[in-house]
Amino acid sequence: MVTIACDAKGRAAAEPFTTAAHQQHPSLIDEKLTVAELYDARNVPAAFWIDEEGRMVRANDPIYAQRRNRETGEVTLNTEYLDAVRDWVAKGPQSKYLMDQERINARRPALDADDVAAAAEFHLGTYLALHGHAADALVHFKRAHALRPDNWTYKRQAWSLGDIERDYGTTFQEALKDPESGPFYPPLDLAGHG
């Protein structure tokens, strides 16, 4: 297992969580989100399965291993997904959860001109925000969000560098309902190649 923290503020942002989780695996930091873009992680969490030969066999599962109910504090394990991972570990290429290329491509579609234009605006905005120009960064973040409203990674990272209500005139709950943005997490579909 390898985890990648997508945080413009790098180690300072990630370490409180990795320390609390007592991580034993390689815990990497992707400050510029270049690897998140390479894998098309348009929101987090996003999980990928890679086999012994370095081939991607499942892509972009929007998955938590466990969830905590904010009101009751109750923690529930996502046993369905954990069982799927165990199935792959035990059966390897025979696991019914492995995806064929067509399904992987659907989870990680080809980039278009809007994707890469959004990325350019997002990276410029991040640079400005981290160099003390938060107000000027907003113009570029908003362009990125308008170009790719379904990229929650660009939204959530930008919001975290400012104030969503003051800077974007919305709230997280309202933004979730924006029909332009599509689903925050697509439904978990465990099917493999059928």
């Binding site: 297992m1 969580f17 890679i50 120009h133």
Partner: protein, 142 residues
């Protein structure tokens, strides 16, 4: 000529540039220093790649100023389908990957290799983990 910051994918450099609106003109030494591209008789070259300069776009790409020959990096970005963004107030330009880099990611079943630091700054690559099943999880603090 005025100072500007150019973020060319992983490179970041300050340079004296000749900006005209959103067009970014550079001297040839600055071009190579900022972007790695070099103007040669066969085209605009970096490592094994040479992009020919189309005759119809030559005037938009290459000009002459008092400082000598200048090259329009934004026009070149359009030519190679490279996304870019510009902040006029702070004179910062960002250039993303060339079209041939961002368009070919579907061509292989191999998971794209990468190299990233861990919390202690030690670098890890995907290829060094070959031979084991790998569960790769992206997360964030935000």
């Amino acid at each position: 000529m005025a100072a500007a910051t150019v973020l060319y994918q992983e490179r970041e450099a300050e340079a004296e540039v000749s900006a005209q609106g959103a067009e970014l003109w550079l001297t040839l030494p600055a071009l190579t220093e900022l972007s790695g591209w070099e103007l040669k008789p066969e085209g605009v070259c970096k490592d094994e790649t040479c992009v020919p300069v189309p005759a119809a776009r030559r005037a938009a790409l290459i000009g002459t100023e008092a400082s000598g020959t200048v090259f329009n990096l934004t026009e070149f970005a359009r030519l190679i389908q490279q996304p870019f963004a510009h902040d006029e107030a702070h004179a910062v330009w960002y250039f993303g990957p060339a079209g041939w880099e961002w368009k070919d990611r579907m061509s292989s079943r191999q998971a794209p290799d990468f190299e990233l630091p861990d919390l202690a700054g030690r670098m890890h690559s995907l290829s060094e983990l070959r031979g084991r099943k790998l569960f790769l999880l992206f997360w964030a603090s935000w």
